[in-house]
Amino acid sequence: MDFLTVIQILDSTVRLAIPLLFACLAGLFSERAGIVDIGLEGKMLVAAFFSAAVAALTGSVWLGLLAGIAAALIFALIHGLASITFRGDQLISGVAINFLASGMTVLIAQDWFSQGGRTPSLSGTGRFNSIDLPGANALEAAHAAAESPGMGLSAIYWELLSGHTILVYVGFLAVPITWWVLFRTRFGLRLRAVGENPGAVDTAGVSVVRLRYAAVLICGLLSGLAGAYLATGLAAGFTRDMTAGRGYIALAALIFAKWRPVYALGACLLFGFLQAVSNRFNVIDLGLIEIPNAFVLALPYILTVVILAGFVGKAIPPRAGGQPYVKER
């Protein structure tokens, strides 16, 4: 295995990790405020559909992105309405959102485009094209031409860092921003408090309902970015159920990361890396033993279970998670 292969796997890791990262941070905001959200999958799916559909109709990926985020926000509001205002069961509301998204997207796609639940393929300005960092192409050409030993390292720049869509860089930026908002602002402190002990927040005269709505809406925004990246960044259009369980993997990553933003980045990169490795090798030969790639694919779930069982550290969810807040009984 040469150096370039390693870089290519890492490059693939970045692409696979970004949708997970957006969804994971989305779940982080929501769960930190005490709203369990298994509707991430559904929100990503509606965002994927509306971003691709609007981009296909208008030819502008930016309008598509806005439409995707708007759709995810509306679904987030539905979840908020059910679980905050009406104090319904958050799990059931999340499941309902997933089903609604799965059925609705195909139905509308069929009605608008008559292509068996797909949107037309996007091209040109209809999708996020990869950005080549300055000098990346020149370096790649130089690498191909010359076989000097020092040139290999340049692959880190032209293969790994360059050639991603803008949303990838936004995704990485979202991690420190999330950290700063949650741990360095008054809003973040209150948001975390509302997930641990909403009664105390209420006693301090801060509205629990407003804080939780804010968290759910931020969750909608981020899952909208996740969906839009899938449909207009990685793929070129929407296909039925194209999120393929990424919302649930993001939830696993969230537990794995113990509800912390920087750990979330690590967890998503690890999960993405495991996927990239299993994509690249059908069988991983470690000399003594051979590991089938199905095992590598299952590793994220195994690791999550191990962490949940408390073998390695402890994953303690926000204490008020899943419980609707009732002011007075």
């Binding site: 290519q8 292509q115 393929s121 990685l234 793929a235 259009g237 194209m242 393929a244 994509n279």
Partner: protein, 329 residues
């Protein structure tokens, strides 16, 4: 239950005797939808051709959900449609249950085997068609590596992969073949993002022609191939138009011919298993205005020769599903 069966049987007999004089063929379009650019659309095209050429009429319904299979089949039979054509292996178990209740109605299932006295099962020799496109792929490849992206890891898809590998090896015994499956669950048919990522990993391993037999995920393969400037091969329908000049050819499965012939035979259709291979024009490769510059005369003559060889039995293409193994992989 018996009362119900009797009642339904009686209803069927009534319907049959009423409509015996004007039995029309019936077509049940499967879940992908009439305009899915692939399997179902091909069947629809065949039915339309029959209408144009014979001036006849046929009944058609489009399934909207998994739960409607049985109901739709029964209603077709009760309305006097004969033969009733159903599409896709997902119908196998339902048809096995429904067919005995309507002994006077003929059923045709495409891509599945149902052993009932009034059912014709149509199977395509996908391995033969894949052999042809494998040859073309090997001749078009400059790197000496070609690849395959499958949908769900099922024997039918290995049948495609194995035929493809045999064709490629027939042209160039030293050729490298990289094979990946998108997943092990039905979600693998609709994950263009992962399929695209697999394609990128294959390109990293040197592949410059990729064959996609992955349902909806195939869109991601063709898109990535076009983005990364390598050649791709479509499947089922002629998909050459999707990225003109980038899709080398398509392995066509003539579902339209099968439907046309079934309609043409009408009630006289023979029960049993009907295998459509190269000699029956059941499978083949597509050349049209979008790819004619990619297909050289040398390729054409080699493939025509192989087609004759397969038809005469001189070249034997191994069918993966016959013994669940592939001699060349």
């Amino acid at each position: 239950m018996t009362a119900l069966t009797k009642f339904l049987g009686a209803a069927a007999t009534l319907a049959l005797s009423a409509g015996a004089a004007l039995a029309e063929p019936g077509l049940v379009i499967d879940l992908g939808g009439k305009f899915d650019k692939s399997f179902n659309e091909s069947a629809y095209t065949g039915a339309q051709r029959w209408v144009e050429e014979t001036g006849g009429d046929y009944m058609e319904t489009e399934l909207q959900s998994e739960a409607q299979r049985e109901q739709t089949m029964r209603r077709m039979a009760e309305r006097g449609a004969n033969p009733v054509v159903v599409l896709g292996f997902a119908n196998t178990s339902t048809l096995e249950k429904v067919a005995p209740d309507y002994p006077d109605t003929k059923f045709v299932i495409i891509d599945g085997v149902v052993e009932q006295p009034n059912v014709q099962s149509i199977i395509f020799s996908e391995h033969q068609g894949s052999y042809l496109v494998g040859m073309i792929a090997a001749m078009a490849s400059e790197t000496g590596t070609v690849s395959f992206v499958g949908g769900m890891d099922v024997p039918l898809i290995h049948k495609f992969a194995c035929g493809y590998a045999q064709g490629a090896k027939a042209v160039n015994p030293d050729i490298e073949i990289v094979q990946n499956m998108t997943g092990t669950t039905p979600a693998a048919w609709n994950d263009p993002v992962k399929a695209g990522e697999l394609t990128r990993a294959q390109i990293g391993q040197g592949s410059d022609v990729v064959f996609a037999a992955a349902g909806g995920s195939g869109v991601g393969v063709l898109q990535t191939a076009a983005d990364e400037d390598i050649l791709s091969i479509g499947v089922d329908s002629n998909q050459n138009y999707m990225h003109p000049g980038k899709v080398l050819t398509s392995m066509t499965k003539r579902v339209d011919n099968a439907v046309y012939n079934a309609f043409e035979m009408g009630e006289e259709i023979e029960p049993g298993i009907n295998i459509l291979g190269i000699q029956d024009d059941g499978v083949g490769y597509a050349v049209d205005e979008y790819n004619e510059e990619l297909i050289t005369d040398e390729m054409k003559s080699a493939v025509e020769e192989a087609m004759e060889g397969i038809a005469s039995g001189e070249i034997e293409v191994h069918d993966y599903t016959s013994d669940d193994s592939c001699p060349v992989m």
